[in-house]
């Protein structure tokens, strides 16, 4: 059976390859920093499941120190020039889209069908992780299609992966780091402290004020945690259920649905949601790492206002 562990091995091999390419790139003055950073990251994928927690912790701290003390660099060589790429684009035409579109196509197909395939009675893939495993398999198929079609040097995929990953830099690890921070916040009970503060300081005897506190609280707490999933249990247990549902007789379904979406408005406005807001600025080579957030803030605020009104009119309608 293909499980998440196998996909981690694959990711680890890719990271190790990126480290190796970096170690031999003399155009990058900080090539050993890059090698160390991606090399340690590779270890966490290859053997992370068997490492003692303390060892993993020190590996992570090692990565952070490498990335923050002297920083990562970037090699200067481009594999092909703009003129070569334009010539190649003319030569291949629309066929270039085939491998690119293979990824989403096979991923979606895989989430439906990989679950149903069985070998000797056990499923081919771990059903609980079908989407992520499908994505990994889809990239392998797309890579095979691309290699067969374009016939580049065998080292091209890993060199190109290195180019893109170094363009993203440490931001590539930030989403995972923030997920770890969320787990520590949960252990420490940060959420209970916050909802306790809200209950103590905000006058909660008017249904509209309660709705306002719950929706805005979802947005603000999501901005702090970077994730609406972390904010939802805290705000709903602290304010939503005791006040909106029990005291004012609101509908729990409507409250929960719109409450979660109010949290998503917060996700659009915070650098803590790094995979949505910071990683794309690196991927798109934008100089301002808040560029995507700035574009999203007007929509997020208008939509939060819409959510407040929607909840106020819908949740108490019985």
């Amino acid at each position: 059976m293909i499980t998440l562990e196998h996909i981690y091995w694959l990711t680890g091999l890719m990271m190790a390859g990126v480290a190796l390419v970096n170690s031999r790139d003399f155009t990058n003055p900080r090539r050993f920093n890059n090698t160390a950073f991606w090399g340690i990251y590779a270890i966490t994928f290859l053997i992370g499941s068997h490492l003692p927690d303390l060892a993993s912790g020190f590996l992570v701290i090692g990565m952070v120190l490498v990335a923050s003390i002297r920083g990562l660099g970037q090699g200067k060589t481009e594999s092909t020039s703009r003129a070569e790429r334009e010539a190649s684009a003319r030569r291949w035409g629309a066929k270039l889209f085939i491998p690119a579109l293979t990824i989403p196509f096979v991923t979606v197909l895989g989430t439906f069908f990989f679950k149903k395939i069985t070998l000797d009675g056990s499923p081919l893939v771990d059903v609980k992780q079908a989407t992520v495993i499908s994505l990994a398999i889809a990239t392998l198929i797309a890579l095979a299609v691309g290699m067969a079609m374009l016939r580049p040097p065998l080292s091209a995929p890993i060199r190109e992966a290195r180019r893109l990953l170094d363009a993203v830099g440490w931001a590539a690890v930030l989403p995972q780091m923030l997920a770890a921070l969320g787990a520590l916040f949960a252990i420490a009970g940060v959420g209970n402290v916050v909802s306790g503060l809200a209950q103590r300081w905000i006058p909660l005897d008017n249904p509209f004020v309660v709705v306002l506190t719950y929706t805005m609280g979802m947005a603000v707490f999501t901005m702090i945690m970077g994730n609406a999933f972390a904010a939802f249990p805290v705000m709903t247990a602290g304010i939503g259920l005791p006040l909106i549902v029990q005291r004012f007789g609101g509908d729990p379904t409507i409250m929960a649905a719109i409450g979660m979406l109010s949290g998503f408005c917060g996700t659009l406005m915070t650098p803590m949601a790094a995979n949505f807001n910071i990683v794309p600025t690196a991927l798109l080579e934008l100089p301002d790492e808040n560029a995507v957030i700035k574009v999203q803030v007007p929509t997020a605020l208008l939509l939060l206002a819409a959510n407040i009104l929607l909840m106020n009119f819908l949740v108490f309608r019985r």
Binding site: L51, L96, Q176, A257
Partner: protein, 227 residues
């Protein structure tokens, strides 16, 4: 109260523009210590949480393919496709992607988009290509704004589309949490009540996208007036 030290560190660190990896690590360690764990126990908890969150990084597996195709001219091709469509404008391309992304997400097909898979290789070059078509070479500021909009479209359409699908993580989280609190709701009901917000998102962001063409026109007309 001391448990909130992590939040304070994160806010200060981001405001001062320090390396976010360092800020987050320090915030995590400080939060753990403030909650009464020993230093080694905190490092171990952080390591464990990092290892269990590795699934977040699997999206990077697409980079070898995307890089390979970029090397062969994928972005250039995406631009020239748009150059052949005279009706293509930045607003229309982004609005079309927004609609497709939101509808497919509502059908549970959340993996049809993404910044690494779709926005960088296809959507952003298409939008830039449309603007170049109309206005010629773009100043960097305008180019960067178009790219940021392309990334934002992917996020907003995903967030306010996916909750209409009943088997998505957030719906299951809501159901699980309410079940624990003795309230039993139907996932289909949760999904239905996500629709009003989804429509508002389409109207609000769709309007902003339509205004983008107008912004480009005045912005680039002024630019040409200056030179």
């Amino acid at each position: 109260m001391l448990t909130l030290i992590g939040i304070v560190i994160v806010v200060i660190g981001f405001v001062l523009g320090m390396n976010p990896l360092l800020v987050v690590t320090v915030a995590g360690l400080a939060t753990g210590i403030a909650s009464g764990l020993g230093p080694l126990a905190v490092v171990a908890a952080f390591g464990k949480a990092f290892i269990t969150s590795r699934y977040v990084a699997i999206v990077w597996l697409v980079l070898p393919v995307i890089g390979l195709l970029e090397r062969a001219g994928l972005k250039e091709r995406a631009r020239s496709v748009v150059a052949g469509l005279r009706a293509a404008t930045v607003s229309r391309i982004l609005l079309a992607y927004f609609a497709i992304r939101q509808i497919t997400a509502a059908l549970g097909l959340t993996s049809l988009g993404g910044h690494a898979q779709m926005v960088r290789p296809l959507i952003a070059p298409m939008a830039e290509g449309a603007a170049e078509n109309q206005y010629g070479e773009l100043p960097d500021r305008v180019r960067h704004k178009i790219r940021a909009h392309a990334a934002a479209v992917d996020n907003i359409a995903l967030f306010f589309g996916e909750d209409i699908f009943i088997a998505i993580g957030s719906i299951l989280l809501i159901k699980g949490f309410l079940d624990q609190n003795g309230i039993h709701v139907e996932p289909t009901q949760l999904a239905i009540w996500a629709i009003p917000t989804a429509l508002c998102a389409f109207i609000i962001h769709g309007t902003r996208l339509l205004l983008l063409d107008r912004w480009l026109r005045t912005e680039l007309a002024r630019k040409q007036g200056e030179t």
